[in-house]
Symmetry: C3
Subunit: 459 residues, 3 copies
């Protein structure tokens, strides 16, 4: 039965209504913070700040731009690997990220940055980074659903995903006071289980009808490598973007750089050993090489040591590649979870590893390694948690991981239920992974599977 | 009648002569400024500057690199969308930008930075950014002519374009003292009308002879998305690159980020609503999503408020997409303007919107919102314009917009006339949009419109 | 005779063993430096450093990320130009760079940064940049061997390449006290001669058997332009990344920006003049446009003047393009050197030009131009070399160039001998430049030379 994929009313309606809602809510709630307001010059004098460079902008802007590239080019191009779904991969990623960052500024603002004097949210560059982070979790979830959902469904997925994210982030970072600079838990673990559960709810038993479109062609794999490399290269910026000024950002970069390098080698090793003649599989290279960055998300600020970072990357590259080899087929057959991009291997498992590594590293921190002040600074042991010990911190880190998983599973089940309603214009099983459903494609991939198009003036 | 497209003498001659002229003129006029000269250390001591970080390099270099990427990858790849003109799109963009930045350093230097003591131009990182900005206007103009002109014509277009730019920029920024940090007026409006007028003068009534090459193929559209996304992501850097240190740069980033996000949603909405079944059109997504950045160029530094930025993006995304739907065909048929990339929709209209928004925002500025010092800093109300009111400033902003349009129209008419001379090696109507004219293409697009190449060893 | 290209044991073994060795050696030797350690706050107080911004991270991180992009996307995509070797180009580049940066941190650490108190190497962001620099020399060498070697051979090439690099760098920069901020000598000249000599040792007389794969197709040339442009745009960051804080970095950027712009014009000129009808050759545009950056590597920090930079770019663009036209065919026929990417034209000759320009510029430096302090700062005339004159410095610069060439030639001969052993799984002459040997390629380039794949459901 052909499904109705006409989104001519629903997509424009969602875009317009939500964008107008954003404008109204921004009008009511969002203002510039003191570093982006013209009163900064007075603020500087009052606080005796000697130079414009102390404006947080100069600490964080280069990292912000790198993160921005990861969100739009990194995630976007990573999802262009399918032979006939490159428009949908990069295009819908663009749409939902552009919506999500606006909604994230509001949701995160209400939970973290609401000024109790005037009930306004004051935003600066750190809020922009956090909004990009938040939206990353929804883009991860998109990876599980790639090719099987309509853009309207993706907007709904993002609306609820950002909402859930803001709540679980508030619980993990503020209530539990866990540390998670690069978001192994709050971004990757949550996003992956959110997407996987949605994909489980939306299970399509007859998806094999579009299996001929579920692979890549030569050049679509090269396009996907653009995504992979920009994610890989800028991941040190991701994990350090909101770390502490000074040594915190510096150390997060070193740790992430090393973990990523290490996971490249183990990915190549496992990919080669798993095939006849040792031939490499592009799917592994495009994805599992990034596992080190995911797994270093929580502990990136900690004194995990350079060789500790290498070990984390070593293990996560192996686990992730094995996931692509064995777990993805198993999950599809047995658990009825169809995970187009393999986010379970790239985000869920390395994210959980990252959470565990973070908990262990925190629990084993000591004044002899960190220094007295360093320990306090790194874990923010002040105010309400001034007396927390590192062991207790480790426990709270572990608790944070469970919160992230729980939010992903429960939230995904709820949102999956909503997305299952037959009103969203999703494609029929035989039309999945096909740009032709939602895009004007005149000459679809001149030499793809279907057709050699006869030029109009020749026939 | 086949035209002579042999550029074996003319292109090398133009490149060599102009490059040698650049060397001579640089030898006479261009020197390092005090922040890039080895005397910086003495300068620091004299001016009591405590740290190397106060060197403007550290304020502006990250933004500069982002702008640089926009010029060469952003504009370059945005113009690879044609099925057989990707080499020309990215390659000629590369050539004329590399020439234009040199000529811009001289032209802008003579008008803005000539040291009256020794008649030298002292350059630093801000000059490099301004040179990139200047050349952007010529790349915009290229967009209207894409596929229809020879590289020699493009070099001439750039030579005069940079020259005109430097003059109109001097009038708008120095004489009128209008503000235009991201160049809605001086870059986009001028560049677009310059290119459109040239395209009007060079009107080709028989261009339909090459209409079969005037579309995209699947992968060329994905290449173009590289350009789109790098422009989109780095536009906050573009609009903030030469804004005031501190809150000025910070605020420009926030405003541009929001305007861009907003125009993505309205672009998707209008694109979807305009087609059967709500299918999206890649041309809209590649271009109109950027309209928010263009329209935020003038007001990016101002206290336009976050929701104000969203509104600007909202409107410009709609206007731009409608332009692609209705205005481009209308202009081609009725006004005889063939606008290959639709720069009227992406740069002219949003640029004019940006100029108007800037004028209104300036006119409605107040001490209660900006603070006394903030108002003076933001609009540079000092020296000759110390007593200017915001209303008068608004008027001068509007005047600036007219200057930009006038320079575009008059300059474009003059340069178009020059380019119409039959000496520049431009292609025949039937050979437009074809890389084969100016590039060695051995296997042109193996499965394009023309041919399935039979492998040599099989026939 | 078909060669055995099975790398199912050797590649995983090399990856695992070397990665484990890295972990052990990092455990023994590598620690955070004082700016990336949690004791930074105490260090700041002790050294009376007023702000976190004085952490070297904020001086160098934006440049580091640009260099990182050059290594992985720049070099990687530049090598995707072959019609059937894009996976190998970008994929193996990824593998060996990820290994090389780890080994470089150790090798460079032992030679330059070993703390004599505790025999540890303390790393920070500058070490990460230097590791990227070091690995660049091996990626250059890869360019000569592209398509003709196995990934195992590349790992060996990188192991020895990094080792040799660390030694020659130590000799040139520390013992000779030559300056080479952008590595014209230590990176480009060494890397190129290292690769060329290896390619000479591995000469394949019957390589013409795979000549049908040794060209590009339309879209692979566009992919390669991604590499070209990211190298071109970020080269100013490359040449300034480890330059002196303040005016040193600032000046290096200006000089490199200008040299690159100039070499674009001369490349287009020579490319056009060399062909019938003045048609341009993508190979030249992809490569020779970068020659200005290579040739500005040594002198980028010096007061070479802006027009001096333009002259350097002017000449190196010409030399490089002529190399592609005449030298590469000559070298293949007469000298038996098969240089897939033409690294002799892009790295060897411009690198030597850069070394010579550096020596001349150093020898002609004067206090009247540099200022007394400026001269000392720029050339680090202190401690052991406090009394060195600029003439002597020029001589040492020249000596450095010879050391780089000598290390490249001798090292390449030795490593080439090792790589000639018949145990590394390299492809047969008829299978060179073919991804099918080392990668799972299901639908190899749907419309390449070999096959029109008949869709499964149609046959």
């Amino acid at each position: 039965m052909a499904k109705n994929t006409n989104i001519r009313i629903s997509l424009p309606a969602v875009c317009f209504v939500w964008q107008i809602a954003m404008i109204i809510l921004f009008g009511v709630f969002i203002r510039y913070d003191e570093e982006s307001d013209t009163h900064w010059i007075e603020h500087r004098r009052k606080k005796n700040i000697s130079t414009n460079l102390e404006n947080d902008f100069y600490y964080r802007y280069p990292s912000f731009q790198d993160v921005h590239v990861m969100i739009f080019v990194g995630f976007g191009f990573l999802m262009t690997f399918l032979k006939r779904y490159s428009f949908g991969g990069v295009g819908f990623n663009f749409l939902i990220a552009a919506f999500g960052i606006q909604w994230a500024l509001l949701m995160q603002g209400w939970f973290h940055h609401l000024d109790e004097n005037d009930w306004k949210i004051k935003i600066g560059v750190e809020n922009l980074i956090n909004a990009d982070f938040c939206v990353a979790s929804c883009l991860i979830a998109y990876g599980a659903c790639l090719g099987k959902v309509s853009p309207v469904q993706l907007m709904v997925l993002t609306l609820f995903g950002v909402t859930l994210f803001a709540v679980e982030e508030y619980i993990i970072l503020e209530l539990l006071h866990a540390k998670d600079a690069g978001g192994s838990m709050v971004i990757h673990t949550f996003g992956a289980y959110y997407g996987l559960t949605i994909s489980w709810v939306l299970y399509r038993p007859l998806l094999s009808q579009s299996r001929h479109l579920q692979g890549s062609v030569y050049h679509s794999d090269v396009f996907a490598m653009i995504g992979t490399l920009f994610l890989w290269m800028y991941w040190p910026s991701f994990n350090s973007a909101i770390a502490d000024h000074g040594d915190g950002q510096h150390r997060a970069v070193i740790n992430t750089y090393l973990a990523l390098a290490s996971s490249v080698l183990t990915t190549f090793a496992i990919s080669s050993i798993s095939q006849n003649n040792g031939k490499l599989d592009m799917v592994h290279i495009q994805n599992a090489t990034l596992a080190g960055g995911v797994a270093m998300g929580t502990a990136s600020e900690f004194m995990i040591t350079p060789y500790g970072s290498l070990i984390v990357g070593f293990c996560s590259g192996i686990v992730s590649t094995f996931g692509y080899l064995f777990l993805t087929p198993f999950m599809e057959k047995t658990l009825k979870i169809q995970d187009t991009c393999g986010i379970h291997n790239l985000h869920a498992m390395p994210g959980v590893i990252g959470g565990i590594v973070g908990a262990i590293t925190a629990a084993s921190a000591s004044e002899s390694v960190y220094g007295q002040e360093g320990l306090i600074n790194t874990f923010d042991f002040k105010d309400a948690v001034a007396n927390r010990t590192v062991n207790i911190q480790g426990g709270y880190q572990a608790a944070g991981l469970f919160v992230a998983i729980a939010f992903g599973l429960v939230g995904g089940a709820l949102v999956g239920g909503i997305l299952k309603l037959p009103i969203w214009g999703d494609p029929a099983d035989a039309n999945c992974f096909d740009d032709d459903v939602y895009w004007e494609v005149v000459f679809v991939m001149c030499c793809g599977l279907y057709h050699v198009i006869i030029p109009k003036h020749l026939d």
